[in-house]
């Protein structure tokens, strides 16, 4: 990481992510009509090696949905989960009489991310008086390592150690999980901190 952030800054960021994530969790819960639990946001500077040791190995096959954020604080949201888990989440969204084939499942997941991200952004833009828009979500099924490195690089985060900002959502007790990563474009966290006054 090029610049270490102060504890106060990270606490403020955590609070913003917490508020956005809380709204996102509520919106998923309303959609699937089942309780959804959310962890406290994880904000941690990790090397790629640590990411693949602590979060998921690089050869794990995941489904991932990427939404870009445009406006005052550009960046991206990356929604990631193991294929089986995300397919279970999609199934909860679909009516029972609709066959959950691959295309339908992926479409449901993209819609889910659309809803999560917009619930998140609505809460945060009101709180901070920001203009933020989300792009159409794109989905892929691939290796966790390929996806994570590419997404951070595409946002101009070139350091060996990256600041992981993520939330985890749990469904069906704790059996099904997914993660939402917030990936700010390089130097945009500073902008957010300025807006937060920290």
């Amino acid at each position: 990481m090029s610049k270490p952030y102060s504890e106060k800054q990270l606490d403020a960021l955590k609070e913003v992510i917490n508020i956005g994530g809380g709204h996102a969790a509520t919106s998923i819960s309303q959609l699937i009509e089942k309780p959804v639990h959310m962890t406290v946001p994880v904000i941690e500077a990790l090397s790629y090696e640590e990411i693949f040791e602590q979060i998921m190995t690089e050869d794990t096959i995941v489904k991932a949905v990427l939404t870009k954020i445009l406006g005052d604080a550009p960046g991206a949201f990356l929604f990631v989960g193991k294929q089986e888990d995300l397919n279970d989440v999609a199934k909860m969204m679909l009516p029972v009489d609709i066959a959950a084939d691959e295309e339908m499942t992926n479409s449901a997941l993209k819609e889910l991310v659309n809803i999560i991200v917009n619930a998140f952004l609505n809460a945060v833009t009101k709180l901070l008086d920001l203009q933020l828009l989300s792009s159409v979500p794109l989905l892929t099924r691939d290796l966790f390592g390929s996806i994570v490195s590419s997404v951070y690089l595409e946002q101009g985060q070139y350091d060996d150690t990256i600041l992981i900002i993520k939330l985890e959502f749990f469904y069906m007790g704790n059996r099904v999980e997914s993660s939402l990563y917030y990936v700010p474009q390089s130097r945009n966290l500073e902008k957010l901190f300025a807006l937060l006054g920290v």
Partner: protein, 160 residues
Amino acid sequence: MAEEIKVKISDYHITQPPNLLMTIGLGSCIGIALYEPKTKIGGLSHIMLPDSRAFKEATKHEKFADLAIPQMAAEIKALSGQARLVAKIAGGASMFQFTTETPAGNIGARNAAAVKQCLQELNIPLLGEHTGGNSGRTMTVDLATFEVTVRMVNREIIVL
């Protein structure tokens, strides 16, 4: 005993048969296999970025195409006592295809262009490549034959 040596992101490794070299999860990154055919000494590099010159503190040589490739080539030449190397590369994908440009541009394509230019400057012939597209890749190098295997999720295996 043959060993499968795993090359991490922003790193490279040099060895000889019967060992295999592999790197997992290439996205926009590129895996560069360099090989000296007489001694069968070879290396595999997993670069993240094309050009170190845009950075003030490019301390980690293994991360950049323009620093990692010449350094690995020099080490293989010194170990083998031979001057002529060959190369095969894989990676440089764009994992999500957006129509709008990112600040980084298409980093996968830029990585591929930088790697090829670097190989050309070093006079190292590129014998095979599998680059671009939207899929992550895992690359394995068999140093006995310099056969490079590229695996992608849900796709047939490519042998370079």
